[in-house]
């Protein structure tokens, strides 16, 4: 689909389009820039000088490492749960046409479709009622709940594109259901499952709204950044941390994108 208009009009449009694109990206570049500023207490632009000292300062902050560690563990655990729940549901649903099928799909997507604040407060009040303490496990429960959908969507889409007669062929050749799963189904959904898992990881790692409702004293990395937002004196360190967070969430999503693209080509 090539250009369908004359040059002058196209120029105006291109300008507008790229302006919006720059608008989308420049805050991130700015963060990267500010991570190196020598200015300690404010956000002076342009930065008076460039330095790497803040990286050193950050890496000595134990609260940062604790938060990072917690976020990693929470993300891994939530992803593991989401993979199990998402895959089993996808396997159950993708072919059958039973009456509750759409309801289940809706139910899975709800935690992510409703505003974070609704999910957050709902979980919080339920946990209050149940008497459970807010802890690491309540964070995981919250995250796993809205991560299921990313795995489910990816796996279901792949399963629907998988040729079903393969599965019959496998059983016909003597493989039991578990053997068929291992040798035929799993290889077929592997990259989709991985993509879903990566997305789920990134989602959990980055999540802040529901987490503030379901955490006790713990700080995940986003919560740490959020609290830093209120503390002007730590700005440069926060900038470095911000840069760090971008890299960590960006990479899994890029990989997930690669995995799902590779299959469709």
């Amino acid at each position: 689909m090539r250009s369908d208009n004359q040059a002058p009009r196209a120029f105006g449009l291109s300008l507008a389009a790229f302006a919006v694109l720059v608008f989308l990206h420049f805050p991130i570049w700015l963060i990267a820039l500010y991570a190196f500023t020598t200015e300690e207490a404010s956000f002076t632009f342009p930065p008076p000088g460039l330095t790497l000292e803040w990286f050193g300062v950050l890496f000595q902050r134990s609260d940062f490492w604790n938060a990072l560690g917690l976020s990693l563990v929470v993300a891994l655990l939530s992803t593991a749960i989401a993979v199990i729940l998402g895959t089993s549901t996808a396997l159950a649903i993708y072919r059958s046409r039973f009456f509750g099928r759409d309801a289940i799909a809706l139910m899975i997507i709800l935690p992510i479709a409703l505003p974070g604040i609704v999910t957050g407060i709902a979980l919080r009040s339920a946990l209050n009622l149940s008497g459970l303490n807010f802890s690491f496990w309540t964070i995981v429960i919250g995250h796993a709940t809205f991560c299921v959908v990313t795995v489910y969507n990816n796996v279901v889409a792949r399963l629907r594109r998988t040729n079903y007669s393969q599965i019959e062929a496998s059983m016909d050749l003597g493989a039991s259901i578990t053997q068929t799963f291992r040798h035929v189904i799993l290889p077929n959904i592997a990259t989709a499952l991985l993509a879903g898992a990566m997305l789920s990881f990134a989602l959990s790692f980055d999540e802040v709204i529901v987490t503030t409702f379901t955490a006790g004293q713990q700080q995940t990395l986003p919560i740490w950044v959020y609290s830093q937002l209120q503390r002007p004196r730590d700005r440069p360190v926060t900038n470095v941390a911000a840069l760090f967070v971008i890299a960590t969430t960006f990479i899994p999503i890029l990989l997930a994108y690669r995995f799902t693209r590779a299959r469709t080509e």
Binding site: M1, S3, D4, R9, L13, A16, A17, V20, L21, F23, L24, H25, P27, I28, L30, Y34, F43, T44, F45, P46, L85, S88, T89, L91, A92, I93, I104, M107, I108, L110, P111, P115, G116, I117, V118, I121, A122, S125, A126, N128, L129, I141, A144, T145, V148, G174, S176, I177, T178, D206, I209, P222, V225, T238, A242, V245, I246, T249, F250, Y257
Partner: protein, 318 residues
């Protein structure tokens, strides 16, 4: 020829292991397999999530006794009645107004980029642009918000640019506007507005782009063939066909703005948006019923919005 010759049936059979026999049970009763696969998820999401949602809804029918500070568990509508208090109405108007403004401006800004991507860019360019729109989406939400704190600060890039261009006066005038102004860009409704527009922009771009991509070339050519000049074709043919995509994108921007409490908290002044009100009520005020009732409002608003959006064809455009 060959050992295939006369066949005796293969006698070596796979062992009758436990897994095999379980599999056979599922073969004979497929419903069991279905249940086994679905039960964990149903229990988890059904009990944990739907359960808490219903608990929340139930709580909205209780009320907080002002004197004792305790939640009285009797069915009453008085908490919903509190929603009609002026201060709460203000909150709703503020939030919905902001959501509408954000949606409108995002739509305006997103359209050129989406249009360019769909109809002007070459194949390679389009893939790159697509990636270019996705990348901010993938970067951490909080970090991108934090970036704006840097940008809008008094000593930050925007003020620096304004000074450079001699526009300090315009900036001061903007900040002095009643209602939407404030002490500085980073503590004003203008700031909140800009950040909202920025942060949800990809959600608006993608559906519009998808809708525009689907407009068949033949339709545009037909319009030109029948005498329509480019401007006319755009207004009467392309825009209406792209509209469902705009509506689809608006669902995201509207809904996400309605429920957000972080951005108004970081960039706004002391008057609340719905999200903040909910946060405060369930936290320090301990008024869960009111918090629950407040939560119901955006859900209802989105429900109505979705109904209209469906009519306008947005669901086919997602």
């Amino acid at each position: 020829m060959s050992a295939v010759g006369t066949l005796t049936p293969e006698t070596a059979r796979p062992s009758d292991g436990l897994l095999r026999r379980i599999g056979t049970v599922f073969y004979r009763r497929p419903v069991l397999a279905l249940i086994a696969l679905l039960l964990p998820t149903l229990l988890w999401i059904g009990v944990i999530y739907l359960g808490s949602l219903s608990a929340l809804l139930v709580q909205s029918f209780f009320y907080l006794d002002g004197f004792s500070g305790r939640v009285i568990r009797e069915f009453t509508l008085r908490t919903y009645g509190e929603l009609l208090l002026q201060q709460n109405i203000d909150i709703f108007v503020r939030t919905i107004g902001m959501a509408a403004a954000v949606t409108f401006v995002s739509g305006l800004l997103a359209f050129p980029l989406a249009y360019y991507m769909a109809r002007f860019a070459s194949e390679r360019m389009r893939a790159l642009l697509y990636l270019g729109v996705m990348v901010p989406l993938w970067s951490s939400y909080l970090v991108r918000i934090y970036a704006w704190k840097l940008i809008l600060a008094q000593e930050g890039i925007v003020v620096w640019l304004a000074n450079l261009l001699g526009l300090q006066g315009a900036l001061d005038w903007l900040l002095a506007l009643p209602g939407i102004g404030g002490p500085s860009l980073s503590f004003s409704y203008i700031g909140v507005f800009v950040v909202f527009v920025y942060i949800w922009m990809p959600y608006m771009i993608l559906p519009i782009h998808a809708a525009l991509e689907r407009v068949p070339r033949s339709v545009i050519e037909a319009s030109a063939d029948l005498g329509g000049r480019p401007g006319y074709t755009f207004r009467r043919v392309i825009l209406p066909l792209a509209f469902p995509g705009v509506v689809a994108g608006s669902i995201f921007t509207f809904s996400l703005t309605l429920g957000d409490y972080i951005i108004p908290g970081v960039f706004g002044n002391s008057s609340y948006f719905i999200g903040q009100a909910v946060f405060v009520q369930q936290g320090t005020a301990g008024n869960i019923p009111l918090a629950a009732a407040l939560t119901v409002v955006p859900v209802v608003v989105m429900g109505v919005y979705l109904l209209f959006a469906r009519r306008l064809g947005a669901f086919d455009a997602i």
